[in-house]
Structure formats: C-alpha cells, structure tokens
C-alpha cells in the first residue's frame, strides 16, 4: 500500500478567508482513489483511498455560487473550516485539484483546456449556519478518458510531494504557477511550467513525477536538453538529453524516498486501461541496480546511468527498501561540506553550477560537486560515478600531457587499456577538461600503419560520451595527420598512413567537442604493411674480455639518395674494428667466434672505436644498393680475449626499392 507520509505541518487549516465571525465549523475529509503498484507486480488489483493533501477547499453557497470560506486540506485530507454567517444556506464543500500551500503561487491539475478538476460534497440544503457541519468523507473517484483511467488528485498529490521534496532539499516556494494536464493525448511530456500526462498515465506516479521533475528543472535550474525521443539501455544518446531525462527520473525516486515509501526508486510506466499484475507493466527500470537493463547501462550519455548515479548519491542505508545496507559508498554515514545531506548537496549543485552551465551534461553535475564550491567526499562520489562507467578520473597513464611524457604504446592488433580524457591539477581533481594524452610508437620508414580509438570494450553502444580526436606527429616533431570522426561512431581513425620517417612517432588524443569534454576510450596502433626496407638483427655475437658483447644497429632512412649510419656499441675502447658486409648470411666458424656474413662482397671498411667503445660507419645509399639486402657484422680487437677478437651479432639491412 502506498504511504503518504506527513511531511509538512499544516498552517492553513482553519484560516477561513473572509469570515468576519465564525458561526459554525465545517469538518470532514477529502480522499481520492489511487491505484497502488509495485515494481514486480505492476498495478495491484485492489485500489486504495488516499488523503487529498494540502488542496484548496471552499465552502460555497450553492444557490449563489459565493464562496463563504476558503481553506485547505491537512496532510491527512481533513478540513476544519470556520465559516461566518447567519440564517440558512444551501451549503456545498468543494475541494479543488489545486494547492495554495507553497507560497503565493499554486499547483493545479486541469484539462488541456484549462478547466480545473474538483470534487464536491453533496449539497446540504437549508443548513442552519449556527450548526457545525460534518460532511463526512468525500472520495474523488477515477476519471476516464475513453478507456484510460486517470486521477487528477493523484497527479496533484505527486506535485505536492515533489514540491515538498524540493523544499526539503533547499528550494524556495515555486516562483511561478505550476500546472499538470490530463488527459494529455498519446504521450506524456513537459514544457515550461506545465506537464501533460498521456491519457493512460494518470496513475503512473513515476511518470507523473518524471514530468513534474522536468518542470522543476525548468523552474529552479536550466535545461539544455534538445528534446526528442529517448529510451533506457542507450548510452549513445545526446548527453544533454540524457542528463535532463535522467535527472527527471531520479527526481521521482528521490521524492518517493522522502515520502518514506517502500521500494521507492524505480521508473515504471504501465498500461492505464485498468490492467493489473505484471502484464500491466509497459516499461520499468530500477535505480539501484539498473534491472532489467543492467548490462546495457553505463556511461555519461545513458539516462539510466544518470538516474542510477544520482540515486546512489541520495540513497542511504536507511532507505526503506528492505535492506539495512547501501551498495555504494555514499550511504548516509557522512554529510557534505556545510553539513548538507546528499539531497541538499545535489540540489545545491543542481540549482547552482548546473543551472549556469552551457550544454549541460552529467559532467556539470560532477564538476559542480567540487567546483566552485568543494562539497567534499571526492573519493566516495568518484566511486559512485565510476560504478556506472562515468570516468571522471585520471587514467594510469597520466601524466602524459606532453610529448616528452608520452606513454609507450606497443604496435599490434590488441587494444590498449581503457584511458580517460581527464586531467586536473585541482584538489580535488575537478573539472578535468582539456586533457592531452600522448603515446609513443616506433615506426619504420614506409611502414603502412593505422591508429584508431574505440569505445571501451568495443561495445556497439558507446558506454561513454567521449568524442576523441587523434593527432599524429613525426619523430622530428612536425604534425603528420589529424582525424576526429573517421572511426566507428564518434571515434577517430587514421588508416593506411605511410610513415615518411623512421623513429618514435607521437600519437596525441584529445577532444574539441563543445560538451563531450571528457570520457573514456581505447587506443591501438598497428602496422598494416611492414616497410619494404629497414634493419633486422640476427645471429649471436662473441663476448669480449670485459664481459660485454658488442652490438650493431643502424639509424637513418635506407632509401636511395639517403645515408645511413651503421653503429657499433659496447666494443673495446680505442680499438681497431672492421665492418664486414656481405650479400648473404655467413656461418664461418673461427676459433674466436663466427663470421655471420658471406660474399660476394665481404669487407666494407675499417675504423676505430672511441673511448666509450663505440664506432659508426656512414653508408651512402645509391642505386646499386636500392632494393638489395646486405648483411653486416663488426669485429673489434680485444686484447684480453683469446685470438684478440670481439664480434657483434649480425644485422640485415633491406635497402628500399
């Protein structure tokens, strides 16, 4: 059974307007027929009567239509209205689907034509105004639009509950009149200060609160939603739309928690033609665990993830859900800065930084929690957001904001770990916009290669709102290429690129999107076609008397017209050394080791090592070498070694065609 908790003391009962003297008192109770529901069972077969709370009531002269007194119902739907007058009148008591309990502006439920709903007592003809009148219990029944069932007073009750919650979280009274409309046609929606409930949504409390949430968003904060259709299990929606819709659904759960309703936090839309049981459910989703869409829910642009995150912020171990614990770190065991509870903190952010944000998304809710006012509890809040794949945190590759701090990235078909475009020097670290992630990859001249990003895990549905861009820099620091949306979805992709330099290239990932300012991604770089030229080591060298083995390597571009350097390192210092060159691999075993190259050409040149034991031989690449393969090995005099020779391993150089 739905419980309507008593949340506000009623100050208006008995304040009869215009009653110069109270000659009699009208008492009684107004109630409305409600259709209870549960997440698992949909609409219950049994209906219940609930009090019409804080609604405007008038005692009326039925013959003249004059209002003799005006007041409001109490939280329990009761009235006690002092009325002045003498003689006898035909008395009627009417309760309106209108609340004046929240300052000078009113909440109303009307038809789309603007007609206010009301419910009336019978006419008490010829009532002696010196006699108190008890009208008994007046119950507003369901109203039908075609076969669709509606309850204007149920809608009013949700508006009252929603306004009570907002005020408890720190809102002032509504600054304008607010209005709900029923029947609203084939779909429920909100616009400005009004919302319109679909013909079959009159008793869908979660839908009513969702739409009323939109109205309060408009009134107390500011929405940048572009509008349009939307649904659950969609993490690739416009993040501005998803924030607006997610917040509205969250609001419904928060209101119901504030009312003390059991199992308060789920969205549910039911068929409204009188169906009952689980077959009455049209669409539902839990805020605690995303059921039944848990697998597909996550990311900054998923409205379900938005309401799950916001709900996790405000639910506590004391939430009336049959569980004495909370499944997240923000569990009500602490307060935020200034002693605010989670609802109050959320509202302060919602009506502060969020209201001021352009193109607002859930990122603005995150940023606003810590900046410009730091509400605290960063670690706990971060864990809540991260739990729904909202990555407002630095990845393990940080800091890599510069070329010099680039993170090494191995070439291959495997994707790197999930990274985030998020970096902040603030404490706590928010906001994290403007991150530049740098990665280093090694490429050979004429390698045909590809660099691309993807959504985390490669899921077709994004589970991130990220819009990464890739910029590629050569080893000499010049920009080579740039791409924003060449990959799947919003991802970047540079494919079939041909390296024009050998060395370490830099991949920079960032974003320039107006409101997808952070987010998560994966990156990979791979060589599609290896360069037709380059160097490859082979064979084993000979250990010298110092215990080291000389090594051979090359730098430069082995293309016609270029000059490469064939380098020796680790040789005996200041010693004579020989560079062998052959057209074939050799295996000439000598007492001191193996000569790894063979003819027809066998000797390239000789030189000396420097004091560090290094040497370098420059080889101009000409037409005779172009397209050829040659094999090289260094031999170095080694006084302490038997045979006086130390040798490097072999090096195969494929000269470019």
């Amino acid at each position: 059974m739905k419980t309507k908790a008593v949340l506000l003391s009623l100050a208006v009962v008995g304040l009869a307007a215009g009653a110069a003297r109270a000659n009699f008192t009208v008492t009684g109770t107004f109630r409305y027929v409600d259709r209870p529901f549960t997440f698992s069972g949909g609409f219950s077969a049994a209906e219940t009567n609930l009090p019409i709370r804080l609604a405007r009531v008038q005692v009326i002269d039925d013959q003249t239509g004059a209002a003799l007194a005006t007041s409001s119902t109490a939280q329990d739907g009761s009235i006690s209205i002092a009325v002045g007058g003498t003689g006898t009148r035909d008395i009627l008591v009417r309760c309106y689907a209108r609340s004046d309990a929240f300052g000078s502006n009113r909440l109303r439920v009307t038809t789309q034509g603007g007609t206010l709903y009301s419910v009336s007592s019978q006419v008490f003809a010829g009532w002696d105004l010196s006699t108190n009148l008890n009208i008994g219990t007046v119950t507003a029944q369901k109203v039908f639009s075609g076969s669709n069932q509606g309850g204007p007073f149920n809608i009013l009750d949700q508006m009252v509950a929603g306004t009570e919650y907002a005020k408890s979280a720190g809102a002032p009274n509504p600054p304008v009149n607010l209005r709900g409309n029923w029947p609203g046609g084939s779909g429920s929606f909100a616009s400005g200060t009004q919302f319109f409930m679909a013909d079959d949504d009159g008793f869908d409390d979660m839908v009513v609160l969702h739409e009323f949430g939109h109205v309060l968003h408009n009134v107390y904060s500011d929405s940048d939603s572009p509008g349009g259709s939307h649904s659950f299990a969609q993490s690739d929606q416009d993040p501005r739309l998803s924030y607006s819709e997610g917040w509205a659904s969250f609001f419904a759960g928060a209101v119901r928690q504030h009312q003390g309703i059991f199992d308060p936090a789920f969205y549910m839309d039911c068929f409204g033609q009188g169906q009952t049981g689980s077959g009455s459910v049209q669409l539902r989703m839990r805020m605690e665990n995303g059921s039944p869409f848990a697998t597909g829910t996550g990311g900054e642009a998923d409205e379900g993830a938005v309401f799950c995150v916001l709900w996790d912020l405000v639910d506590t171990a004391s939430t009336n859900d049959g569980n004495a614990t909370d499944d997240d770190a923000v569990d009500g065991s602490f307060t935020f800065a200034g002693g605010l509870d989670a609802d109050q903190m959320q509202w302060a952010v919602f009506t502060g930084p969020v209201a001021q944000a352009s193109n607002l998304t859930i990122r603005d809710q995150w940023n606003g929690t810590f900046s410009p006012t730091n509400h605290g509890q960063h670690a706990a809040v971060e864990s809540v957001f991260n739990g729904w794949q909202m990555r407002f945190l630095e990845d393990t590759g940080e800091p890599n904001d510069t070329t010099g701090s680039a993170t090494p990235l191995a070439l291959g078909t495997s994707w790197g770990p999930t990274r985030t475009l998020y970096s902040s020097n603030a404490n706590p670290p928010a906001p994290g916009d403007g991150d530049l992630d740098h990665y280093a990859i090694d490429l050979q001249f004429l390698d045909v290669f590809e660099v691309e990003t993807r959504y985390p895990g490669g899921v077709g549905d994004a589970e991130t709102y990220c819009d990464p861009r890739i910029t590629l820099f050569r080893p000499d620091g010049t920009q080579f290429a740039q791409n924003d949306d060449g990959g799947t979805g919003r991802n970047a992709r540079l494919t079939n690129q041909v390296a024009d330099q050998t060395g370490t290239w830099i991949v920079r990932v960032d974003t320039t999107h107006a409101y997808r300012r952070t987010g998560s991604y994966q990156l990979r770089a791979r060589v599609l076609i290896p360069a037709p030229c380059g160097s490859t080591p082979y064979g084993a060298g000979e250990v010298g008397s110092t215990g080291t083995t000389a090594t051979i390597s090359t730098t430069g571009n082995p293309a016609n017209g270029q000059t490469i350097a064939i380098r020796l390192a680790g040789g005996n210092p200041n010693s004579f050394c020989v560079l062998f060159e052959g057209a074939n691999v050799g295996n000439n075993v000598q007492p001191w080791g193996t000569i790894l190259v063979a003819g027809p050409a066998f000797f390239r040149t000789y030189t000396s090592t420097d004091a560090a034991g290094n040497a370098s031989v420059l080889v101009p690449v000409d037409a005779a070498l172009a397209g050829q393969t040659r094999y090289y090995q260094y031999a170095v005099r080694d006084p302490g070694f038997g045979g006086n020779i130390q040798a490097s391993g072999g090096l195969q150089i494929d000269y470019c065609p």
């Binding site: 698992s40 007609t115 007592s121 639009s145 400005g192 408009n218 349009g228 059921s291 848990a294």
Partner: protein, 178 residues
C-alpha cells in the same frame, strides 16, 4: 488522392518540435518539450494512406537492444477490422536490425476520422536485480490518425458513498480557474 495518415500530436511535440539550447538562460522558466522514456524500440511509419474506407500502413520496427522476440500488433478503432496483416514476428533480434510490416484495414463505416496504433513488443533477457536472467517484455506504440478527430471526452465516474460527486470538468466558481 490518397491522404496519408498523420502522426499524433505527441509525435509532433516530441519528434518534430524539440527545442534547442534554451535561449532564455537565466530566465525563470525555460526548457524544451521533454517526453517520457520510450521502450528501446523504434517504430517508423514508411507509408500510409486512406482510400474508400480502407487504410494502409507500412512501418519499420527496430530494437535498440538485442532481443529474443519482436512482435507487432495493431489497435483499431471500434468497428474497424483487419483486411490484411503482415505484422512482424521476429525471433533472435539483433539491435538496429529493422524489420518491415504492413497492414490493410477496413475503417469503421461512416467514420470521418480515427486512430490506428501500432504496438511493438520486444522480449529480451533481463539483467540485474531480481529480474536477472528472466524474460522481460517492453512495449512501444505509435499512433496514427486520419480525418477529423473529436477530442476524447473526459468521462467522470460519479459514485456515491453518501456525499460524493466528481465535478469534471464542471467549474462553478470561475474565479478559481486562474
């Protein structure tokens, strides 16, 4: 000429006339039309017409998530009947894999207007919470209309427990309807 059926007002509000970023930032009240969440099903009307009391509609339905079953049904106005229904009965539905259905309907005799609703039901394997692993069915609808539509009247149920009446939309105290 065969006049096309028209989408209902809901579609106009939510699909055709969404607002942009609110131009009145900082003003007290702003915001575009915002609609309730839909089931993750897209229903697109490809073609429709009415001629000689017979309506034809061809539509495309796609699930936004992987599902077990996708079925469509039609809700007709009173007195209408289906002449030819080539609805969707799909099994093993991949997301974003649209299916096409069509129907030819005999409209109620003498009707000058009315509504036809396409109802699509998607069954999928639920995840999370107490529904984890169970089959879950969600429903989306798309309503088309033709001709002149009378506003659906609001019908009060007047029921007495001694003192009850619901005034819908009677309003005898004009000053209250501000």
């Amino acid at each position: 000429m065969k006049p096309p059926l028209s989408l209902a007002a809901f579609a106009v509000l939510c699909l055709v006339l969404p607002g942009g970023a609110s131009p009145d930032r900082g003003a007290l009240v702003s915001g575009p039309a915002s609609c309730k969440p839909d089931a993750p099903i897209d229903i697109e009307v490809l073609d429709s017409s009415v001629s000689d009391g017979v309506a034809f509609v061809r539509y495309r339905v796609a699930s936004r998530i992987d599902g077990l079953r996708l079925d469509t049904a039609l809700e007709l106005p009173d007195g209408g009947r289906v002449l030819n229904d080539r609805g969707i009965r799909a099994r093993g539905v991949a997301r974003h894999d649209p299916r096409v259905g069509s129907a030819r309907l005999r409209l109620p005799a003498g009707a000058t207007g009315g509504r036809v609703t396409i109802r699509a039901a998607l069954t999928f394997v639920a995840s999370g919470g107490e529904l984890d692993g169970l089959e879950e069915t969600v429903v989306a609808t798309r309503t088309l209309s033709w001709g002149a539509l009378d506003p659906t009247p609001v019908l009060p149920i007047v029921e007495s427990d001694g003192v009850v009446s619901l005034d819908v939309p009677a309003l005898r105290t004009g000053g209250d309807n501000r």
